[in-house]
């Protein structure tokens, strides 16, 4: 599967017209996990965009996702008759990840001179590590259904919607995207990974000044 994705990416890159308009686009945003309430990240990335025609652009994107600590509690129980049966186990969770993807931008209204709406399709690799730590009386209590620290490197796919507006000579954009977790078998709910819903903003700088831009 990974080899197929890699070959697909090579195919896309090979189809790039080096004489076409190219852009470099820094992107930053906030991502929340639709699988797990409260888990979120800040993300920063950069994408290199190749314009194929007025309706279609291809992008290569690298992104680092910075963890925001999420605090919650799980249940823990004791068999020690001198202690309460139940006590909360305080949980801290951080999701660290980076991803590398080949994105496609389908422009819905190419005739628009000052603004565009686009649909995004993404295919890439993500490396994700979920760090989970508990604070509780470990000598007397046992956590019920504990969440484990885990990591995974795999393929993911995603989609999104984007609005671009011309500001001076360049384009600013805002996008809402939804990605799958890294693809693969999920053994239990506590072993699931992040499915990020992201709100990003970015700015598109022309690298090659062509007569006909967006």
């Amino acid at each position: 599967m990974r080899i197929l994705a890699f070959l697909f990416a090579i195919f896309l890159l090979a189809s790039v017209d080096s004489n076409g308009q190219q852009y470099i686009e820094p992107v930053a945003g906030y991502r929340a996990d639709v699988n797990s309430r409260g888990v979120a990240q800040f993300n920063t990335g950069i994408q290199y965009t190749f314009k194929k025609n007025s309706r279609y652009e291809m992008m290569v994107r690298v992104q680092k996702n910075w963890p925001l600590k999420h605090f919650s509690s799980d249940s823990s129980f004791s068999v020690n008759p001198l202690l309460p049966v139940y006590a909360p186990a305080y949980k801290t969770k951080e999701v660290k990840s980076w991803d590398f993807s080949f994105d496609q931008r389908f422009i819905l209204n190419p005739a628009g001179k000052n603004h565009h709406f686009s649909v995004l399709l993404r295919l890439g690799f993500v490396s994700e590590k979920i760090d989970v730590s508990y604070k509780y009386d470990k000598s007397n209590y046992t956590v019920l259904n504990p969440e484990e620290t885990r990591s995974k490197f795999s393929l993911y796919i995603g989609t999104g919607f984007e609005y671009m507006k011309l500001i001076k000579d360049n384009w600013a954009f805002i996008q809402l995207t939804l990605d799958t977790p890294p693809l693969g078998k999920v053994v239990s709910p506590s072993s699931s990974f992040m499915a990020p819903l992201a709100l990003n903003v970015g700015y598109s700088f022309k690298i090659k000044k062509m007569k006909h831009g967006r």
Partner: protein
Amino acid sequence: MAGKSFLVPIFCCLLLLSGCEKNETKYIADNQTNGLAVFSNTGNNIMTCFINGSPWRTDNRIVGGWGPGSTDLSIFKQYDSSFHYSLVFAWPGNLVNDSADIYLIELHLFVPANFSQTSFDSLQGKRITIDSTTGFFSIANYSLTGNGTIYFNRASYDSAASKSGNAGEFSGLFEANIPGYTITQARFDNDLPKGSIQF
């Protein structure tokens, strides 16, 4: 006769399918305690513990197939030689690193004579100190008994459950002291199939 030859491969396929075994035990390692499964109540069908510091686990629950299968837990009621009615929980298994030693851990919980299937739910949420008045833990193959404490996180059984699969849940924790053997950090999590409680 030739017209019925298509029945042969169908019969063979059915015969092969009927031989499929299914392992209904899920072992999810607990990273906090090396050698044990996590404490869960999601129907992983396993009990793990330390016996004198060595990890011990129940046999896998194997269903289907042509063999007799295997179980991770039996629950039954008995009237014992000390004139008590006991609810007996029997966990067959082995030390993880030594298959030829302790192969059955039991809890005998004294119950009233009229304790029935419908009384089983009353255990849920209870923590019970097991001593000579309430019952005993045993390592059955050595006929050794001792005291301890057990906490029932879930204990439910509905014999009238309409679904053909599970009729109940059973999970919790226990610790026990049996002469020569200390059982610590025991955690169990079992689905109870329909018909698994017969009292």
